[in-house]
């Protein structure tokens, strides 16, 4: 698929998403708000996984970090500006990612995965057990905040989420995707991909493996914390389940479903899983079983995920169009 066609498709998709609050009932706009949180987190997650080759099984830690940062700043300290909370969450994400990543990126493959899983488990234990600090299993409340200095006092929670906050998240997601697009197309992004493909060769070409993996880990931590802040705002709660290992598995599921070989694959995965999960939950109590089966089928039949499928369909369509044009010219 050519870059122009891809950009057109992205623009159409963004336009369609922008119409959801206008054309669809508020339920659907409200349903899609967490999608934006996951989409931003997964853009960062995929920089680590798809572009650097490091699969983290504890990445939900950063989502929880974002939500808890929002809870502390807005709930305990009374900071009501969402932008300040977002920036603080990004900074906290960076500050935690640096020491954790410094240790973790020394390892690769299963060892990196297990170490990040351990980080997530430790964070869950801390949040769960330190009741007086974190609220334990009850979590911490994330109050409403102002968006761009506006209070939106006339809106109830659903109206706020399905209206102003929806567009806020859509814009934030678009900006995050644009920034990530620049990162993966930069010299830095190329060095990350070289490390993913062949670390030894990359090092002999002057790629600083440890530093670059750490940078990718830190960036993914920032994206995760920002995404987590959106999740916290939407539910009004930061609780230990956000950092639990099954939530990290959820992120991996979305990434594999959408495809990790492209920038927007995980975003597509997040959208597909959000909608699919909602539909399945309304149809059957065995929805987890169905999701598991779908994941298995995707891994077996669509190893490049839904984005890969879309790419192949687009290419096939392009070939058919070219072939039919040639036939028409010949006939004429």
């Amino acid at each position: 698929m050519k870059q122009g066609s891809a950009l057109l498709l992205v623009a159409i998709a963004a336009g369609a998403l922008a119409l959801v609050p206008i054309l669809a009932p508020p339920f659907y706009a409200n349903l899609l708000v967490p999608f934006y949180g996951y989409a931003i987190a997964l853009l960062g997650f995929n920089l680590l996984f798809g572009y650097t080759g490091l699969l983290s099984f504890g990445h939900a830690l950063f989502l929880g970090l974002g939500a808890y940062t929002a809870a502390v700043l807005a709930g305990l300290w009374g900071i009501k500006e969402f932008e300040v909370v977002l920036l603080a969450a990004a900074l906290v994400g960076l500050l935690l990612a640096l020491p954790l990543g410094w240790l973790a990126v020394r390892y690769r493959g299963i060892f990196f995965g297990m170490l990040t899983l351990a980080y997530g488990m430790l964070a869950h234990a801390v949040l769960f057990k330190f009741y007086h600090l974190t609220g334990g299993d009850s979590g911490m409340r994330v109050p409403r905040m102002h968006l761009l200095g506006l209070e939106f006092a006339a809106y109830n929670k659903i109206e706020l989420l399905a209206g102003p906050f929806y567009y806020y998240c859509l814009t934030l997601c678009a900006l995050a995707a644009l920034l990530m697009w620049r990162i993966v197309r930069s010299p830095f992004g190329l060095h990350l991909r070289s490390l993913r493909d062949n670390a030894q060769k990359a090092e002999y070409l002057g790629v600083r493996a440890h530093q670059f993996r750490l940078a990718a880990f830190a960036i993914s931590g920032i994206y995760g914390a920002v995404g987590g802040t959106i999740l916290g705002f939407r539910t009004g709660l930061a609780d230990p389940e956000l950092v639990y290992w099954t939530h990290s598995g959820h992120l991996v599921f979305m990434t594999v479903l959408g495809g990790f070989s492209s920038l927007l694959g995980p975003v597509i995965g997040a959208l597909a899983l959000t909608l699919l999960q909602d539909q399945l939950q309304s149809l059957t109590q065995y929805w987890r079983l169905v999701l598991g089966a779908i994941l298995a089928l995707v891994v077996i039949f669509l190893p490049r995920g839904l984005a890969g499928l879309a790419f192949d369909v687009g290419r096939l369509h392009g070939r058919r169009s070219a072939s039919s044009t040639a036939n028409t010219t010949e006939t004429a």
Partner: protein, 282 residues
């Protein structure tokens, strides 16, 4: 060990396909050298008291039978291994245990015996990986790579030197084996190294193509301003044709360090390195 030159060299070695280029400059101090280097793997001693030096302008080949310690020596020279005893100096600095990235930035490049590529990167991206390092642009997080004319120009130059200009947009994994080998070497050359170590650059390449590959490599080395080349090679035709000096290893020791004409005139060395009168190539 002293070897008396004789006229009993192999016929193939006596008639190399190309005249060996002469050294351009004989610098005072070596570009790279080992001083009494030993390397043990547990109780096994892979290298013992190895002292060699390569100067600016030289093309030096390292030969020896399997297990002689050639790869261990190259790995010591490129920082992949740390010597058990002795020192390795590159441009006058002790580089024992120095990481490959530092060596790359200091002007040393290497290729591996088994072809090393980035399967999911294109030819242009593979070469650009090294060019980015060379141009110090590795930490540019937001500048779009496709729009960097400096990088694109250098990538095109390097690809042109190795005949890969028409394959720039091709994924590396889709190249032929010979092209992969050329790309492997081209990416190393893109660092503009002063010294390059080529570990069997023609392995996996057909006999007919070996000289063409070597001619390309040597031509590219001259064009890129490479000051010295170390070649590890089994094919004695290539060694004879291109080397200024040949270092033979046997059982972890330096058996000989001679110019080609003296090297191939010594039957004892030839027998040790390539076996008893079975032809020179092994």
């Amino acid at each position: 060990m002293t070897h008396q030159p004789t006229s009993n060299a192999s016929p193939r070695a006596e008639a190399p396909k190309a005249a060996p280029p002469r050294p351009i400059v004989r610098a005072r101090s070596p570009l790279i050298e080992t001083r009494s280097v030993c390397k043990n793997y547990g109780a096994f001693r892979a290298l013992e008291d190895v002292s060699i030096a390569v100067r600016e302008g030289e093309f030096v080949s390292i030969v020896g039978p399997n297990g002689a310690g050639k790869t261990t020596l190259v790995n010591l020279l490129t920082g992949l291994l740390v010597p058990t005893k002795g020192e390795v100096y590159f441009k006058g600095r002790n580089i024992a245990g120095v990481c490959p990235v530092t060596l790359a930035t200091q002007g040393m490049a290497r290729t591996f015996q088994l072809v090393q590529i980035f399967p999911e990167l294109t030819v242009a991206e593979t070469i650009a990986t090294a060019v980015i390092t060379r141009q110090g642009k590795r930490w540019r997080l937001l500048s779009p790579l496709p729009q960097d004319a400096q990088i694109a120009t250098r990538v095109a130059e390097i690809a042109g030197m190795f005949g890969l200009s028409s394959r720039l947009a091709t994924l590396s994994r889709l190249l032929s084996q010979g092209e992969k080998k050329l790309l492997d070497v081209a990416s190393a050359f893109a660092l503009d190294p002063q010294l390059i170590l080529l570990d069997e650059p023609t392995s996996g390449v057909s006999t007919a193509e070996k000289h063409a590959v070597m001619t390309t490599l040597v031509g590219a080395a001259r064009a890129a301003g490479v000051q010295a080349i170390i070649l590890v090679e089994h094919d004695m035709d290539l060694v004879a044709a291109y080397s200024h000096r040949i270092i033979a290893l046997s059982e972890g020791r330096v058996l000989a360090d001679l110019p080609p004409e003296e090297f191939f005139a010594d039957p004892v060395i030839i027998e040790t390195v390539v076996g008893k009168r079975r032809g020179v190539s092994c």
